[in-house]
């Protein structure tokens, strides 16, 4: 989910518009959430409904990461009335 916060609010590969050179070449410019960007998170495990999966096990990586950015976009819409349809959503967007 923290990775999803990164998708939603910080991570972007920036390139030079003329040459295509990668400008976000390090962790200073390719920004990801830090501790203070990360709220306390309640995690709910939905343990049922996977009987059709062989062995009953399911992955959790993408399932937790991908919906986080639309959830944040919905929260921003709810708080501000503005609907953003591209990520990352920045204060300057």
């Amino acid at each position: 989910m923290i990775q999803g916060i990164g998708y939603a609010l910080y991570e972007a590969r920036e390139v030079d518009p003329r040459t295509g050179d990668i400008l976000t070449a390090g962790m200073e410019d390719y920004r990801i959430p830090g501790i203070a960007d990360t709220p306390s998170i309640d995690v709910h495990f939905d343990e049922g409904g996977f009987d059709h999966v062989l062995g009953g096990s399911v992955g959790i990586g993408e399932v937790a990461t991908v919906p986080t950015s639309p959830a944040l976009a919905n929260a921003i819409r709810n708080a501000t009335g503005v609907r953003f349809t591209e990520i990352p959503i920045r204060p300057t967007a």
Binding site: E14, V15, D16, P17, R18, D21, L23, D37, P91
Partner: protein, 157 residues
């Protein structure tokens, strides 16, 4: 030292104090010239207070010392907050105020070893017409390009 002294006149040598930023530019190859290590005189470390209540901070005072100073926190809370927000605890412990003020541009064109620019002996400033997501390129006819990080989200948390 003779070589280094000569290089100062041709502006290819760099001074190194704590080296927290310089080390990264040496590794990337952006900084390749001779280095001149400078060490602190006692009068360049610490914070003095004038009778008017103004602080005089020595160039070799560390960023962590500024952030932790109670009187700085009371008199200059913005300075203390900026010092506390800089980089990481390890870097704040070594980095000096003088080095922070004198450090090279944070421009991502300048800092990319694969991109030529005026500050590295190139013939133009790619930042001028380039991507300014986190910065603004200021061009001075006398001093060449400078890139100022406007800092949104730049504080390491």
């Amino acid at each position: 030292m003779t070589t280094a002294s000569m290089s100062i006149t041709t502006q290819t040598a760099e001074f190194r104090a704590a080296g927290t930023d310089l080390s990264e530019r040496r590794r990337s190859g952006v900084s390749q010239g001779p280095l001149i290590d400078i060490t602190a005189r006692p009068d360049t470390i610490g914070i003095d207070w004038g009778t008017d209540g103004a602080a005089r901070i020595g160039a070799f005072t560390t960023i962590s010392a500024i952030a932790a100073d109670a009187r700085i926190n009371a008199a200059y809370p913005g300075l203390a907050a900026a010092a506390l927000g800089l980089a990481t605890p390890q870097i704040r412990h070594l980095a000096t105020l003088g080095g922070n003020l004198a450090q090279r541009s944070r421009c991502w064109y300048y800092r990319n070893p694969h991109i030529a620019c005026l500050k590295k002996g190139g013939v133009d400033c790619p930042a001028r017409g380039g991507n300014h997501l986190y910065s603004v390129a200021l061009i001075s006819a006398l001093r060449g390009p400078a890139s100022l990080d406007h800092g949104s989200g730049a504080v390491g948390l």
